[in-house]
């Protein structure tokens, strides 16, 4: 017994030794960046670092009326220091996201405070801007002062924390993210269904074709799979735009007047058509690999037992093809909900998905905490689907057919 354990152990160690370099590589180049990103969704020290004393004194404030003079004095001192350290802009930006309009209040006050040498600071600051007499301003500062915070996640699902500490919905006009998540799920669902509708028959055709023809037809499926995503997206712009090929054909055929050219791109239609095209191979390949294993004799047997073709399909073929349907649909859905490039290029304003909103907050609004929280919610959804895929199909059989 002892003799056989040792080589076994050695083989196991050697196998782990082979896996370790890649595991470390992925850990450093991929998992660590994701972790950094997710940390940002709950950790935001800018205001806490800039206004430590103000925040400590605000702890004692009950949230009604204006805070005591000591808070104003500390705020005045620390805002001046933040101006000198050039962090006041970041502080103002964060406070502004909780309470609109406070950006200029904070930066303006910080600038003007330099000319005022002494207190009382409550009067001085209120004289610069009346907003300092408003409890909402101090509430905003206290909220952004949390070093570890749930506010980005609350924000990502259209919630906010009220001054009394309770959690409530965002005001109507700021409730956009849940709707966007919902839209992303619905659009992904529609695309998955379209892919199934288009992909099932051709996967069946390829699975039943004689080998040399099956190979040729598979190549037709693989051409878009290998063609650059940007090329495919460009192709849809060329085809669908108002002065594009499809509209030209419709006008030439007299189906559409020259002034009535259809808007098929830079909107949701463009996103759905282009994404269906991009993701269709991911549906066809798993379907095909399952269907190839369904013996043709089963359908003949069903027919010889008196089943109509429809009955035979529904009771014999479809149930056997379900693993392929599940694998393809899950894969397409997972890829669709995180899609960025195609909606960004052909989606116009109403064809944008959650990934595009994350990019917006990363690059334009620079609200990185919120971008990270939206990413965190999206990632959680994808991971659940990924775990489901692993249970049903196994991740090592991912996508390539």
């Amino acid at each position: 017994m002892k003799v056989s354990v040792a080589p076994e152990r050695r083989a196991q160690l050697r196998a782990l030794g082979l896996v370790a370099p890649l595991l470390i590589f992925i850990g450093v180049t991929f998992i660590a960046p994701l972790a950094t990103m997710l940390t940002r969704s709950v950790h935001d020290p800018v205001v806490a670092d800039a206004l430590p004393e103000t925040l400590a004194l605000l702890e004692a404030w009950d949230g009604t009326g204006t805070p005591p003079e000591a808070v104003y004095a500390a705020a005045a001192r620390e805002l001046e220091r933040a101006t000198a350290e050039r962090t006041v802009g970041q502080v103002a930006g964060r406070v502004n996201r909780v309470q609109g309009g406070l950006r200029s209040v904070v930066t303006g006050t910080a600038r003007d405070l330099g000319d005022i040498g002494q207190g009382p600071w409550r009067e001085a600051m209120t004289a610069i801007d009346e907003a300092w007499a408003d409890p909402a301003t101090w509430h905003a500062i206290r909220t952004t002062g949390e070093r570890f915070t749930a506010r980005h996640y609350l924000n990502a699902v259209d919630l906010q924390r009220l001054p009394d500490g309770s959690v409530a919905s965002q005001p109507e006009e700021r409730r956009i993210y849940l709707r966007l998540f919902l839209r992303t799920l619905m659009v992904s669902g529609v695309i998955t269904l379209l892919c199934l509708l288009l992909g099932y028959p051709i996967a069946h055709l390829i699975a039943r074709a004689p080998p040399h023809r099956a190979n040729l037809l598979l190549v037709l499926v693989l051409v878009p799979f290998w063609t650059s995503l940007l090329v495919r997206t460009t192709a849809w712009i060329v085809l669908l735009q108002t002065q594009g090929v499809l509209n030209d054909i419709l006008v030439a055929m007299g189906l559409v007047s020259d002034d009535g050219r259809l808007a098929m791109v830079y909107n949701m239609t463009g996103t759905i058509v282009a994404m269906t095209h991009v993701l269709l191979p991911f549906m066809v390949l798993p379907l095909y690999s399952v269907m190839r294993g369904i013996p043709a004799t089963h359908m003949n047997a069903a027919a010889s037992l008196g089943a109509t073709p429809l009955q035979a399909f529904l009771r014999v073929y479809w149930p056997q093809s379900l693993p392929g349907v599940g694998a393809g649909a899950l894969l397409v859905f997972i890829l669709a909900i995180g899609y960025y490039i195609t909606p960004a290029l052909v989606g116009g304003s109403d064809g944008q998905l959650i990934s595009n909103m994350i990019a917006y907050h990363m690059q334009t609004s620079l609200n990185w905490g919120l971008a990270a929280a939206l990413g965190g919610v999206l990632l959680a959804g994808v991971l659940v689907l990924y775990a489901l895929y692993d249970r049903l199909v196994g991740v090592e059989r991912m996508g390539l057919g």
Binding site: Q12, R14, A15, L16, G17, V19, L22, L23, F25, I26, F30, I31, P33, L34, T36, M37, L198, G199, P201, I202, L205, N215, L222, V223, P224, W226, T227, S228, L229, L230, V231, T234, A235, W236, I237, V238, Q241, G244, V245, H277, L280, P281, I337, Y339, Y340, L345, S355, I358, M362, G375, L378, V382, Y386, Y389, D390, E396, R397, M398, G399, L400
Partner: protein, 272 residues
């Protein structure tokens, strides 16, 4: 079986539908090719093109991209980044797949899940995280940063392809080689690797295609010096859309066809 009998209306409808789906898959890509020879700066067929008037067709957009340093520079960047990322992903991915082929590896399923995760993680989240993390390491706006990022994104394809090839490998061959006196390295080099080579090369081509087509990471992490072909196309589509894009696209289509045929050829060889 249906060849002898005349296909019924149901089967005709089915075949017609399938034909339309194949047209949907391939036609949009093929339309690009003739349009790239348009003499006019339009994205549609001019009347002259339809009449096959030679003056309506031209190579002007090809001349434009060849003479434009932004495009030629981006080709160099794409090749340098793509080849480097592929080498890293292929070497590490193949080693890991060899290790994972041993059923005794603890937590095999979890490890596999981690190694394949770059394939399903929404790339915008990965790119945003990489932007923060790599900048912190001083790798923002460097070739090395993008190469490492692309290698990570290409790894799952290598692991999946090589694992699939290894599943068809007969472990008795390793034992046979060992019994004939070959050491582990000789066995790998002379017996195992030649048999799994088609899978390794397919995996490498997949990894290269991933990098060669990747734009989001480059958008977030790359500077002017790291512009790749997809990045260049991205600005072309967003800013000043010109048929030069179609010329580049045609080049990429030809390239994709080449990759596809190579992989298919390898797959058939691997099976034989």
């Amino acid at each position: 079986m249906t060849a002898a009998t005349r296909p019924g209306p149901g089967r005709m409808a089915y075949l017609a539908f399938c034909t339309l789906v194949f047209v949907f898959l391939v036609a949009p890509i093929l339309v690009i090719v003739p349009l790239s020879f348009n003499a006019e700066p339009y994205f549609t067929f001019t009347e002259g093109m339809l009449r096959l008037d030679p003056d309506a067709w031209s190579l002007r957009w090809y001349r434009e991209i060849i003479e434009n340093e932004a495009w030629t520079g981006s080709l160099v960047n794409s090749m340098v980044i793509g080849v480097s990322a592929t080498v890293i992903a292929t070497v590490l991915g193949t080693l890991a797949a060899l290790g994972l082929a041993n059923p005794a590896v603890p937590a095999r399923r979890a490890i596999m899940g981690i190694l394949i995760s770059p394939m399903v993680t929404p790339v915008i989240i990965a790119a945003a995280g990489m932007f923060f993390f790599y900048s912190g390491l001083g790798l923002g706006q460097t070739h090395l940063g993008i190469i490492l990022a692309h290698a990570a994104l290409g790894v799952p394809f290598v692991v999946v392809t090589v694992t699939a090839t290894l599943a068809a490998y007969d472990p008795n061959l390793t034992r046979a080689a060992a019994s004939l006196g070959a050491g582990p390295w000789t066995t790998f080099r002379r017996v195992q690797f030649p048999l799994i080579a088609p899978g390794v090369i397919s995996g490498a081509l997949f990894a290269f295609a991933v990098s060669f087509d990747e734009v989001v990471v480059v958008l977030f992490m790359g500077g002017v010096d790291q512009r790749t072909i997809p990045r260049q196309m991205w600005s072309g589509i967003r800013e000043q859309i010109s048929p030069a894009i179609l010329a580049v696209a045609t080049f990429l289509i030809a390239f994709a066809a080449l990759l596809l045929l190579t992989v298919e050829w390898l797959r058939r060889r691997g099976r034989a």
